[in-house]
Amino acid sequence: MTDLFQQAVLVSMFAATIRIAAPLLLVSIGELVVQRAGIWFLGVEGSMLMAAFVAYFSAVSSDSLYVGLLAGMATGVVVHLSMAIAAVTLKINQFVTGLGINLLASGLTLFLYRENLRAYDSGHIPTVTPFETVPITGLSQLPILGEILFDQHLFTYFAFAMVGVVWAFLYRTRFGLEIRALGENPKALDTKGLSVSRRQYSALAFGGLMAGLAGSVLVLALTDRFVPGMTGGRGWLAIVIIIAGNWKPLPVLAAVLVFAFLEAFQIQAQGVGVQIPYQLLLALPYIGAIIVMMGVKVRSEQPAHLGVPYHRE
């Protein structure tokens, strides 16, 4: 292999890492805020999947990517808020509810997908024309870095920007402090007369917006159609990422990049035709997740009240 070819492969692999990182980063950042607010929400996978489903069929039927995007985001919010009703208001077991949301999403989207496809000729599964990348003038002309970092989708820039925004929100604003306090000591907020449930609803609404956006990005930017089960464990990886990132924004970003790199590597290796079973490559992120969890021992920032419903006594 020539140096030039090697460089091209590496550049496209790192560019793919950044591209793939976007939906994972969006959903992880949303889940980070949710968990910081004390909600152990395992239904992100389902929320993303439902959003992807709705985004796809809305975009196809309205012939507008933006309608699809809005519908997908709204779906994420609705699914997350149903968790809020169950976990915050009704105080149902958070583990079981999150699981139920995932199962409902996978069952419902599979069924509705099959029923919806009847409207189209068999073999003519409709596709969307995905969002184009938006090169940043000037920066995208930079050698190597330009192609990797500055010729990406708008969502990608937004996702990375959100890391900073959420960091500033959690650590530099009063409301962010209150969200963090929810996970640590909700009683302290309650005794000060601040509503616990209103803040947890807000955190879940934000998480839903992010998960909905992530699901929409999958169908409207990274591919051109919905496939049942297409989230493929990204929501679960988000949960791994938050534990591995010790519930802090910047380490969460680092963990996202690790998993995105594994996936980009997998795609690249398949493309180059490496003599490894492709299933082993596909399984890499999941094997990686277990290994990462074996290595990560720091749980210092895990919210003390994560998953514990708040009862006023």
């Binding site: 105080k91 699981l99 199962l103 996978s106 069952g107 082993l280």
Partner: protein, 355 residues
């Protein structure tokens, strides 16, 4: 003067749980009917086809029992782990692993049926408990969250099966579909009675339900298990080693799910493939929760879900409704069950103003 007041129940009795399940299931059927109507189906026709397919005659009842058997195993697997407050969601992967390990043994040994059937049963348990035990060890030795390790292994095991098939290690030469070759006749689970479809896997499921009921409620180990689930710190003072308990529970839970995969493969499908094995683990989770983690109730709920799965196939033929609606309906039942569980926590009490 008297007024009504809501008060919280300490524990919901068995009658209460049954009533609650009945209410939740009725509501779920209503919701599914509405969904079907929105999609332009005649809900009465569809749900009636579902009923006939599930229990229209003795033939279909048998079919429902055969569908229920693997579900009873995954339901028991989930309820056993949840009883110890070990949040394993690995039943899906362990179900695959049981079927795959048993299949693996049929490719390396050939024995007469009298030995082959016990061998595949044991191999099914082995496959499931290897995966379950691995997650248990990862938890107790490396503090890897059980939810995370079990979910990740669910994905990994499916890729492993895909590899074994597409690399043609397990695929018959010239086979078009991605599925294994048929298992030898000597390994098929025989029928229990003449002129029925009830293979011994169904009997094994019933026996296992009874055995788990006994183990959980009547043995010292079961007592330790429940104590561990209720309060880990207190259980430690009673001499229960939490790390060992985690590994043992995961081994047993995995073996149960693995048995389910074996029963489905050697009683019904006679081949392994991803499509044949998908969905039993997640259905088992729902069954466990609705059954209140009680083994006997798991058997009953598994029968209901087996009926849904069996009737769903008939509904697909008769009413042209995709049988994929069944997994949606299972989750809808779970959601209504969770909502009604809140309502049933309270009871309406008449209080006189004097007290």
């Amino acid at each position: 003067m008297s007024q009504y007041k809501l008060s919280k129940r300490v524990e919901i009795g068995t009658a209460g749980v049954l009533l609650q399940a009945a209410v939740a299931i009725t509501m779920a059927f209503l919701a599914s009917g509405i969904l079907l109507a929105i999609l332009g189906f005649d809900p009465w026709e569809a749900l009636d086809a579902l009923r006939i397919g599930a229990m229209g005659d003795w033939e279909s009842v048998q079919g429902s029992m055969v569908h229920a058997a693997p579900l009873a195993f995954t339901g028991l697997a989930a309820s056993f782990a949840f009883r110890a407050r070990i949040w394993s969601i690995g039943q899906e992967g362990q179900f695959f692993a049981g079927a795959m390990m048993a299949y693996f043994f049929t490719t390396i040994v050939q024995l007469p049926a009298i030995l082959m059937v016990p061998l595949v049963i044991l191999a099914g348990m082995l496959g499931g408990s290897l995966i379950g035990g691995l997650c248990g060890v990862l938890k107790s030795r490396f503090d890897v969250n059980i939810i995370v390790s079990t979910v990740m292994l669910n994905y990994i095991i499916v890729y492993l099966l895909s590899y074994l098939l597409t690399s043609r290690i397990w695929m018959a030469p010239g086979e078009y579909y991605v599925q294994s070759a048929r298992v030898p006749k000597s390994s098929h689970l025989p029928d229990m009675f003449a002129n029925t479809d009830l293979h011994i896997g169904v009997g094994l499921a019933i026996l296992t339900v009874l055995a788990m009921h006994f183990v959980v409620n009547r043995t010292t180990f079961g007592f330790g298990l429940r104590a561990f689930g209720d309060n880990q710190v207190a259980a430690r003072f009673k001499g229960i080693n939490p790390k060992r308990m985690t590994v043992i529970v995961m081994l047993i839970s995995g073996a149960l799910a693995g048995l389910g995969g074996m029963v489905q493969t050697f009683g019904v499908d006679f081949r392994v493939s991803q499509t044949f094995l998908t969905g039993y683990g997640s259905a088992g989770l729902i069954i466990a929760v609705i059954a209140g983690l009680r083994p006997l109730s798991v058997g009953l709920v598994a029968l209901l879900f087996g009926g849904l799965a069996n009737g769903g196939l008939f509904m697909q033929v008769m009413a042209d409704v995709s049988s994929a609606i069944i997994s949606a309906m299972q989750a809808i039942i779970l959601m209504f069950f969770l909502i009604t569980s809140v309502l049933f926590q309270y009871r309406i009490k008449r209080v006189t103003s004097d007290d």
